[in-house]
Amino acid sequence: METVLAVVVGTLFAVGTYLILRRSLVKLLLGLLLMAHGANLLLFTLSGLRRGAPPLIGPDGGQETYADPLPQALILTALVIGFSLMAFTLVLAYRADQVVGTDDLQRLETTDR
């Protein structure tokens, strides 16, 4: 299954990459979100996929094997961080569009010239 998920991760990155290379602000944002998904899923894939073994230790001590809890904790942190960043970016995109008046990224070039 790791192989399959690796392909999924790759696809997420590929589509994300394609989208962030578009000229539209909206697609850019979507691409960033897809890449964030890809990154999280990648971490998850690496954690060693185990079915039905959530890292919850019952009062009786529980099973012998659990899913690796650390990557899960990392993803959890990354999820929230990623969300915060995305939320900010969305607001920024909204404001930028409002002030600049276009969502065509090729026209957002005044600061570089």
Partner: protein, 783 residues
């Protein structure tokens, strides 16, 4: 004491500003006197130093680089130090009156002292790093002085040109010096000049050439001489001081200083000798073609510098003696000439040869003084300049190395001498005599302190040629030359040796020079065309233009302003670097293509997830794309559920939903255009990049996953990190949900950061929405 002497100059630079504010013009005298005291102190050291005594001080500075703050006063340093302080004292005085009514006088004098200190530092340094520090400082002070009239664009141009050429050469030299220091195992000049094996070092050619580059740019040797004429935009005292008497001699000083260590090889003889000779000749020729008096003097300066350089290139004891003589002679008469030109310009308002003439009538004293120094420049007896030329001829005829045939040297010297006579006549008669002179009736002699400097220097030009000053100076010159030669050099100077070849050459040169002057009009007219053709400045200007164009072009290519381009380059770099690492590295990638054991519905879900991801890019509507994104999020959740990450699934859902809602809110305001605006080609390119990134990420994931079973055990307790968490969660941290325990206990710091990020994001977004310092594009949207 040496240190105090050195830093007193810098101190004076600081004192200048308040001094002028409090004392007015009296400060000029005070400062000049202070400089004279400095001169006196150096002079006082002369007897001891002439006998070979060396004063030196060393402080460790950068032990890690073997660099020390080391000073050394020997014959060579002393000679230069005397020139710097002696001429300095006169020029400070002169400058105080020359710029008497200028509001920026104090600033000017301050720069002059800054230069003086730096130049003293150069000549006193006993350590290559110390030397270089002061070397660059002279460039900076020169920059400030050339650009002193900074509202004038030409001044700025000249200043930059000088700085770039000398500064650039200086940096090349730095590389050479560092290599030299490494080759010689020390940065101490005193130690390096005693070494003999340097010329066989494998890097010899490299560091010699680099150091020469520094010296040549500083001393305005062809083809780097182009900055000096433009540097004439500096106020005249500065031109006389820096760009004639002292700073431009820094390169010569360096060559003379390092001659014992680096000289004696064919490379040295050839490069230094040829460059010197060419400079000497070319500049003399060009000088004759000038109309601007300062430009004329600038070219004669270059010529004389070439003269000294050529002598150092020859490198025999006689040659070095001749070099010392010409250095002193030139400094004395050329400084005076500049000051005189300054007077002329100060009084008449012009320094164009074509507008001047007949000034001997209104400026008699000036004319007399000028006559003396011009004669010295022309190399006429009984002046010190004559001695310089005699020794040059003598050297050319007797003591040249094999690679520099005597005929070349003698021929070049002779031709130069002809031009020297011719341009001297051109200068003197053009300014002070001439029938077509316009009337300068209102012109009068300058304030006497302005004449004092030139007069003293003119007197010196005479007196140095006769005892007792001649004998006194020979000792010093001998000491200097022997430092440069690396062995004792005996110096005896006399005006009359009998009828010798050099004397005959001088007579012939003077005669030819007079003839040349007589036919000056056609010659100069012809030159005007020729000069236009061989201006090397085109090279400089061209390269600056080219540089600017290159910079603009290149930057426009990189910094296109389009985010997609930036991302393209970044992702391209990623693909190149990572795939190169993958291709060249060793190790296997295990790809299990077997799908056995994978539940069908998981496969299906994976396929569907891929489809929805593609759908995000493929749908033609924004909402469709968001919906597809939402589906991708649902599948993420699903996989988190399947592979035992309930907390992840919950958080993912929450985040996903919030994101989707935010997206909707934001998109409500965004324009509706959603079609792809890129060209077909761009799309293909992007697909290729995307495929590359996707493939790499997949491969990376695949490469890591097989290791999963064999995660390296940690050092303590034989546990892997996750085993530790699972084991310790309940007993040590009293939590059953290990993920939670990690978040709030084992790795609480991450969580702290995470929460902070959330808070900041809210803060930032709030401010972004609320605080609007600029007018919005659409006012109605601002509600």
């Amino acid at each position: 004491m040496l240190i105090i002497a050195l830093f007193s100059a810098f101190l004076l630079a600081l004192v200048t500003l308040p001094a002028y504010r409090w004392l007015g013009q009296r400060a000029t005298w005070l400062l000049s006197a202070a400089t004279a005291v400095l001169f006196g102190w150096f002079l006082w050291q002369a007897p001891a130093v002439s006998t070979g005594h060396v004063l030196s001080v060393t402080y460790p500075w950068i032990p890690r680089l073997n660099a020390a703050f080391a000073l050394r006063l020997d014959g060579l340093s002393l000679l230069f130090a005397l020139l710097v302080t002696g001429i300095g004292a006169l020029i400070i005085l002169y400058g105080g009156y020359y710029l008497g009514d200028d509001a920026d006088l104090s600033r000017f004098q301050s720069y002059m002292f800054l230069f003086m200190g730096s130049m003293l530092g150069v000549v006193l340094a006993d350590d290559l790093v110390t030397l270089f520090v002061f070397w660059e400082l002279t460039s900076v002070s020169s920059y400030l002085l050339i650009g002193f009239r900074h509202e004038d664009e030409k001044a700025r141009y000249g200043a930059l040109k000088a700085l770039l050429i000398t500064g650039g050469g200086g940096l090349a030299m730095l590389a050479g010096l560092v290599m030299l220091g490494m080759a010689g195992g020390s940065f101490r000049i005193g130690e390096l000049i005693t070494q003999t094996a340097l010329s066989t070092h494998p890097l010899y050619t490299a560091f010699v050439l680099l150091i020469l580059l520094g010296a040549f740019t500083k001393s305005a040797q062809v083809p780097f001489h182009i900055w000096l004429p433009d540097a004439m935009t500096a106020p005249t005292p500065a031109s006389g001081y820096l760009h004639s008497a002292t700073m431009v001699k820094a390169g010569i000083y360096l060559l003379a200083r390092l001659q014992p260590a680096l000289g004696g090889t064919d490379l040295w003889h050839l490069v230094v000798g040829i460059v010197g000779l060419v400079t000497m000749l070319l500049a003399a020729y060009l000088a004759f073609g000038q109309n601007d008096l300062k430009a004329l003097l600038a070219y004669t300066t270059i010529s004389s510098l070439g003269w000294a350089v050529a002598l150092i290139g020859i490198g025999s004891s006689l040659a070095l003696k001749a070099a010392m003589v010409v250095i002193v002679a030139h400094s004395v008469y050329k400084a005076a000439l500049f000051l005189l030109v300054g007077i002329v310009e100060h009084e008449t308002g012009t320094r164009d040869l074509r507008q001047l003439g007949g000034l001997a009538r209104v400026l008699p004293v000036t004319a007399v003084v000028a006559a003396l120094v011009t004669m010295s420049m022309a190399g006429l007896p009984p002046l010190f300049g004559f001695l310089a030329k005699e020794t040059l001829f003598e050297t050319a005829l007797t003591a040249t190395p094999a690679v520099l045939p005597a005929l070349w040297v003698a021929g070049a010297a002779f031709v130069m001498a002809i031009f020297a006579v011719a341009y001297s006549l051109l200068f003197y008669f053009g300014v002070f005599f001439g029938s077509d002179a316009p009337s300068f009736d209102e012109v009068h002699e300058p304030a006497w302190p302005m004449l004092l400097g030139p007069a003293i220097l003119a007197a010196l030009s005479v007196l140095l040629a006769f005892p007792p000053l001649r004998t006194a100076s020979t000792e010093l010159l001998a000491a200097a030359a022997s430092q440069s030669y690396g062995d004792a050099v005996s110096v005896s100077l006399a005006l009359w040796h009998g009828i010798t070849t050099p004397l005959l050459m001088t007579i012939a040169a003077v005669a030819s020079g007079v003839v040349l002057w007589a036919v000056r009009k056609p010659v100069r007219r012809w030159q005007a065309g020729a000069i236009a053709r061989i201006r090397l400045d085109v090279l400089y200007d061209g390269s600056i233009t080219l540089l600017n164009r290159l910079a603009t072009g290149l930057t426009a290519r990189f910094q296109t302003g389009t985010l997609s381009d930036y991302l393209l380059m970044i992702l391209g770099a990623m693909i190149v670097l990572v795939s190169y690492a993958m291709i060249t590295g060793s190790g296997t990638i295990t790809v299990s293509t077997s799908l056995a054991g994978i539940p069908t519905f998981e496969l299906l879900a994976a396929v569907l997830m891929i489809l929805s991801a593609v759908a995000v890019a493929g749908t033609s509507t924004r909402l469709g794309a968001i919906a597809a994104l939402g589906v991708v999020g649902f599948f993420m959740t699903l996989f988190f559920v399947i592979y035992s990450g309930p907390d992840l699934a919950l958080t993912q859902l929450m985040v996903e939903t919030l994101t989707v809602i935010l997206l909707l809110l934001v998109f409500y305001f965004l324009p509706r255009v959603f079609e792809d605006r890129s060209t077909r080609l761009a799309r293909f390119r992007d697909i290729a990049i995307a495929a590359g990134v996707g493939t790499l990420v997949t491969l990376l994931t695949l490469m890591v996953s097989p290791l999963e079973g064999g995660v390296v055990a940690s050092q303590s307790e034989g546990l892997t990190v996750s085993e530790f968490f699972l084991q310790q969660s309940v007993p040590a941290a009293f939590g059953e949900n290990v993920v939670n325990v990690i978040l709030v206990d084992f790795r609480a710091l991450d969580t702290l950061g995470e929460i902070t990020v959330l808070v900041i994001a809210v803060l930032g977004a709030y401010a972004l929405v609320k605080l609007r310092l600029s007018d919005d594009h659409d006012a109605e949207d601002g509600s």
